[in-house]
């Protein structure tokens, strides 16, 4: 078990190193050299050379690579071309909004997906199954921007729940009520896009499991149907779902651009959008590294969690 975790940890570090190296190469093969971009088109050759020296770009390639690695792993991601601020503090500023968005939505889609999935698996071909399948298709087929536009329109204007708001991100530690008011619709919008996948995943996984011999044993033992379905069925069906869940959460940090943009949340997604528009390479690459970190960590948690969920993979 311990060796298993160490192995996964080393693998995670390897992945991060590869991503960092790729990012380093990208920085150095950009068509306009970095010093020229910072100095601007009209700067003199002397200024460009000075900036080049200040940034350490006149050092040997491998030395630069080594210091880049060191900086990255200590959290120093360089400076923005646009605002000259530290990339790490720009990201740290924006991270809470995105983290809260993803985590809140994740709870919704996980619980929602499993509930509808189990119901439609146990009542296959019933009205409920058909209805939830309908919603699944709807969720899968609506483009994200439309979903984000639709929900405020539906809930605030049509149904008239004015308690819901749209607007900038507010920290839950400053104003918990306003936080909830502003986050609920983005959560719903994001969750609705993804919940469909979990309904289908749960339904499929449950249908497979409910046909297993050990489910028949559970029934033959005289357990209640509820216990058979949840304690025996869902417990076994959960493993692939949890795996997917970890991977999705990790990958979602950095790909919530549309939802953040439409709802006006100042998160990582918006940051990426603005940086791409302005060509702020260090910020884009910083977010790339951060996303990689999240994916690696999420996978690590999933792998370790998996071995707790399933005694058969506990290798010692």
């Amino acid at each position: 078990m311990f060796r298993f975790i160490i192995r996964r940890l080393l693998f995670g570090i390897l992945v991060l190193w590869l991503v960092t190296t790729t990012v380093f190469c990208l920085l150095h093969i950009s068509p306009t050299p970095v010093e020229k971009m910072i100095a601007g088109p009209r700067a003199s050759a002397a200024t460009v050379a000075l900036i080049r020296h200040n940034l350490g770009l006149d050092r040997p390639f491998l030395v630069q690579y080594w210091s880049f690695l060191k900086d990255t792993f200590t959290g120093d991601l360089g400076y923005s071309y646009v605002t000259q601020a530290k990339v790490s503090s720009i990201i740290a500023d924006r991270l809470p909004a995105t983290l809260w968005l993803v985590l809140g939505a994740a709870v919704l889609w996980f619980v929602g997906g499993i509930t509808t999935g189990v119901l439609s698996a146990t009542k296959a071909r019933s009205l409920l199954d058909r209805t939830s399948t309908g919603f699944v298709l709807l969720g899968l087929s609506i483009p994200p921007f439309l979903m984000a536009l639709l929900l405020p329109f539906l809930f605030i204007h049509e149904i008239g729940i004015t308690w819901f708001q749209t607007g900038q991100y507010v920290s839950p530690f400053e104003d918990p009520t306003l936080f909830l008011q502003r986050m609920i619709l983005p959560w719903l919008a994001l969750a609705f896009l993804i919940v469909a996948t979990y309904t289908r995943l749960t339904r499929g996984s449950m249908m497979d499991v409910l046909g297993e011999d050990y489910i028949r044993t559970a029934r033959a033992k005289g357990l209640s149907e509820r216990r058979v379905i949840y304690r025996h069925g869902l417990r076994a069906a959960l493993t692939p779902i949890v795996t997917q869940f970890g991977v999705d959460i990790g990958a979602l940090i950095g790909s919530t651009i549309v939802t953040e943009k439409v709802f006006g949340l100042q998160g990582i997604g918006q940051l990426v959008y603005n940086s791409i528009v302005k060509g702020d390479t260090p910020v884009i690459l910083g977010v790339t590294l951060l996303t990689a970190l999240f994916v690696v960590v999420a996978n690590l948690i999933v792998d370790i969690g998996y071995s707790f969920l399933d005694p058969r993979v506990r290798v010692d």
């Binding site: 033959a220 033992k221 216990r227 076994a236 058969r312």
Partner: protein, 345 residues
């Protein structure tokens, strides 16, 4: 009153290919403490019939009656039936590798069953009982193995654990559905011995399902031979081994290696394939494979009639053609030659 009395049980499934008539009229009974062997080839309806009694065949269309201590299992509510499963009737299944939940400890699975029916028993007491049960079925160091997961048990040990579970609530009837088929020969013998010993100890009635007559040679009181969803011969064990009537039973006897009818220990399989259960053959359903087939056999279905006291057979051959001996064989051959039938006999 018998412990279990099944009358004209019929089970069918609607499938996209048509209606599968898995069980087409089955009548039998079993007394307290006795053993009934149900034998037949794969697909003859052994599992479906017994699982239907326990309400474990969702989607099946069921008719008939199954009186367990006078109460009809087939017309019980799901909740009534749930209370029968475990404390009254328990089951052991064919594949011990897949019959235990892979994610829960073996002991936990036994404890769960005890506490589902006896909620007043504390966890600690239920666990103590699980350890005792595991010890009784021959699991070494049961106090340690009780916390193992199924994958840490061998196939034979898992089947022992299933037996322990089946005995946990001291049921009146155990249905064992090919409990040794998935195990290798030496383990098979051990498991059968164990079941026999425990059955006597607990005075439990046992329905032993198998496709191998050799398995029940030593332990069944009565035997029911199934073919295409129907019983074709029904008698006590001795009569079946020495004075069988139905050609299908004879075929099964010949296919036992070195069994009662085996010739020089060689296994003679029954030629041909089991019939379709969507459109079973006309007349006697065994006629396409029967070496003695006569004209009537293709048209009229033979009823299960008494060929000797307490010995029923569904075959048109002369009643006194019993056993595999030369005299009986001669009787059968002359019957076939004349195309003679025994209608109304």
């Amino acid at each position: 009153m018998s412990l279990l009395e099944v009358t004209d049980l019929k089970v069918s499934f609607n499938t996209s290919d048509g209606v599968v008539q898995a069980v087409r009229g089955m009548t039998f009974s079993i007394d307290r403490g006795k053993t009934l062997g149900i034998v037949g080839e794969s697909g003859s309806g052994k599992s479906v019939s017994t699982q239907t009694l326990m309400g474990l065949t969702p989607g099946a269309k069921v008719s008939g009656q199954a009186l367990f201590e006078g109460q009809d299992l087939l017309s019980m509510t799901p909740d009534q039936l749930r209370r029968i499963r475990g404390p009254q009737i328990s089951m052991i299944f064919q594949d011990p590798l897949s019959s235990l939940h892979p994610l829960y400890k073996v002991g936990w699975q036994i404890v769960e069953m005890i506490r589902a029916h006896e909620p007043n028993v504390s966890k600690a007491d239920a666990r103590k009982r699980a350890v005792e049960l595991l010890g009784m079925v021959g699991i070494p160091q049961p106090d340690r193995r009780v916390d193992d997961y199924p994958h840490q048990f061998s196939g034979g040990m898992r089947q022992r654990a299933m037996i322990a579970m089946a005995l946990a609530l001291n049921p009146k009837l155990i249905i064992a559905d090919e409990p040794t088929t998935a195990l290798d020969a030496t383990v098979q013998a051990q498991i059968l011995d164990l079941m026999l010993r425990l059955q006597r100890e607990f005075d439990t009635a046992l329905i032993m399902i198998t496709h191998d007559l050799g398995v029940i040679a030593d332990l069944a009181d009565d035997v029911l031979v199934m073919y295409a969803g129907k019983p074709v011969e029904q008698t006590d064990r001795r009569s079946l081994y020495y004075r069988s009537h139905h050609p299908y039973s004879a075929g099964l006897l010949r296919s036992i290696p070195s069994g009662a009818g085996g010739r020089g220990g060689r296994l003679i399989p029954i030629p041909g394939q089991p019939p379709s259960l969507i459109s079973p053959p006309s007349g006697c359903s065994f006629h396409p494979r029967c070496p003695y087939v006569m004209d009537t056999c293709r048209v009229d279905e033979p009823p299960l009639r008494e060929v000797a006291a307490g010995h029923g057979s569904a075959c048109w051959l002369p009643k006194d053609a019993l056993g595999l001996g030369p005299e009986a064989e001669q009787l059968r051959e002359s019957a076939v030659a004349e195309g003679r039938t025994e209608v109304g006999a």
